[in-house]
Point group: none
Chain length 197, copies 4
């Protein structure tokens, strides 16, 4: 039983690993299920035994990345006791997480848009999870009286967008070589933007 589950688990991981590789290399639409078959050294039937369709594989990866990012982000926020530094911690952590999962990040920020309009809602939901996190933080800052009231929703979207574009450019052009190099400038910009310092 446990044996079977293990094997099944392993197989699913192999498929997902291969899918990340293929999707990020060729893009969602240009990736064939056959490519994943070859990369994962499994079989078509095997893949369709574990996933109902190609979309489901992609969605699984998207959710994984979102969960990873989200849990890391929350950890970072919780680990930093100083309210004024939580934002910096969040930013640095996101850059680190994105930077150390290049391919998953690519699926998350780039390829998802090419998977078809059915994914649009999903994308906005995922983006929303992070801007909401930022928004909560901004609201806390306001409530604590350390920054002046602001439209925290628009601000958090802009905050996420600034990071998003930086990371996207890193993915598509390789610039900057180390994503974290963007940290000092982004930190300054975002802190001052919301009115800290």
């Amino acid at each position: 039983m446990t044996d079977r589950q293990d094997r099944s688990h392993t197989r699913i991981e192999k498929i997902l690993d291969a899918a990340v590789e293929i999707f990020s290399r060729k893009g969602y639409r240009d990736s064939g299920v056959d490519d994943i078959v070859v990369e994962s050294q499994t079989s078509k039937g095997g893949i369709y035994f574990h996933f109902p369709n190609k979309q489901a594989i992609f969605l699984t990866l998207l959710d994984r990345m979102a969960n990873l990012l989200h849990s890391r982000a929350e950890e970072a926020l919780n680990a930093e006791p100083d309210l004024l530094k939580k934002g910096d911690a969040l930013l640095l952590n996101m850059l680190k997480t994105f930077g150390s999962h290049r391919r998953l990040t690519q699926l998350f920020l780039v390829e998802a848009l090419g998977a078809g309009h059915e994914f649009n809602d999903k994308i906005m939901e995922l983006h929303g999870r992070f801007s909401t996190l930022v928004q909560s933080y901004l609201d806390e800052l306001v409530k604590a009286g350390v920054v002046a009231p602001i439209n925290s929703q628009v601000a958090s979207i802009a905050w996420f967008g600034a990071v998003n574009e930086t990371v996207t450019r890193w993915i598509l052009t390789g610039q900057p070589v180390n994503l974290e190099d963007a940290y000092p400038t982004l930190r300054l910009l975002l802190r001052r933007g919301v009115g800290l310092n």
Copy 2:
């Protein structure tokens, strides 16, 4: 002669108009050339007479939007004599231009990223044209001594990203109803971010 050019011009315009409609409605990959044939009331052969392939139609539209946006942006910058207000003018102008060309904007900011890896270079080039514009402005501010030195490249990318995410969300979710409603908050954020006021 002129007649022919006119007819040709008209035909090309009909195709491009149809393409905007179709691409923004279904996404680049889910749009068939046949869809454009129907929408433009032309023919398969007609389209392939004027464009070498589907990609070229999309690239033409992308360039159009980029040119439109760029010329409007430069106009806005030139029309505003006050250096400190040029940034606000640029921002407002971009929101207005995006807001009044919903579908082209969608192609520019959403569909292009998902259209496949062949478009990646083009996208970065187009995004780059705008962040470069911003970057030049930031450099001017620094040179004029009104803001402290900053990594203007990273900052301009972040600036563009903030706008980008706001507009993208507007396109995909319809929020905010009027894109320009985001202006005050974005203005405040971006001004303060680079160190103005």
Copy 3:
């Protein structure tokens, strides 16, 4: 021993019962072995332990129906001592048997023909068993001098076809509601056709 046989017997019966249900509901070709797995609450391996392949399951059902029908038919013929009434008894009995085994009948008369060319020989063999029965009866009638000589082979095929079409229509359209309602007319037709009365 007996226990094992019983369990096996039960298992095989469960599979066959499920197969009748599935095959008659979806047709032979549109029925998946997985459908039978679910319906029978067994497993893929279990089915392939008891049957070499999908075809064999279907053939088993076909033979069952043929045997059932054949034994009933012989009983009916034997139970009726009056030679002139044997034909009527056979007809009534067939309508009753078909009418009380709707799904098996469907496999026998409808699905089998459409199951593919591999089944053609089998079908003709099964149909033949019944027309041969009729043929023997006709030959007896001729030998007894109660009807004039006739090509009993062609006649028996026609006889079976008349019943077949009536039953098929009942299966596919539900008309007549009670299959036996067709008896009086069919009886008259078939009796007179071969020259009785």
Copy 4:
């Protein structure tokens, strides 16, 4: 224009001819569109340009056969002025038509059942067209007073079934070699069955 129509017409005919050949040789379900491509010396895209799917090709053939059979049947009935002989004319004509279109007949009487349950209604409709023809004739006989009242619906279905089974057997076993050899016996049977002579 006419040129194009001609070519198109020719192409469609080539596809349909190939489809008859393939469907009757391998059965509907065991025939691949690729088989038709090869047989017709066209291309997959070409086939799907003219037909929306595989089913449509089959339906077209079914309708063709039905129309052919129906028009021939009506001609035969009209050509025979003697009411008492119309039935014989119809029977002979059907045997001749079936006999001279072996493959189309096979699709009509055998393969259609294997195309899936979606075809069941169609099949009954087609069979119905012929039994209705017979039914009208029987009603005329009754009205003319030459035969005693009878349930003409059941009788016509039985009539068609007798022919159907005979023809089906001819198709599947090749017996009798000449389908028309069955005529004398069938004629006798069916005439006497309804009460003629």
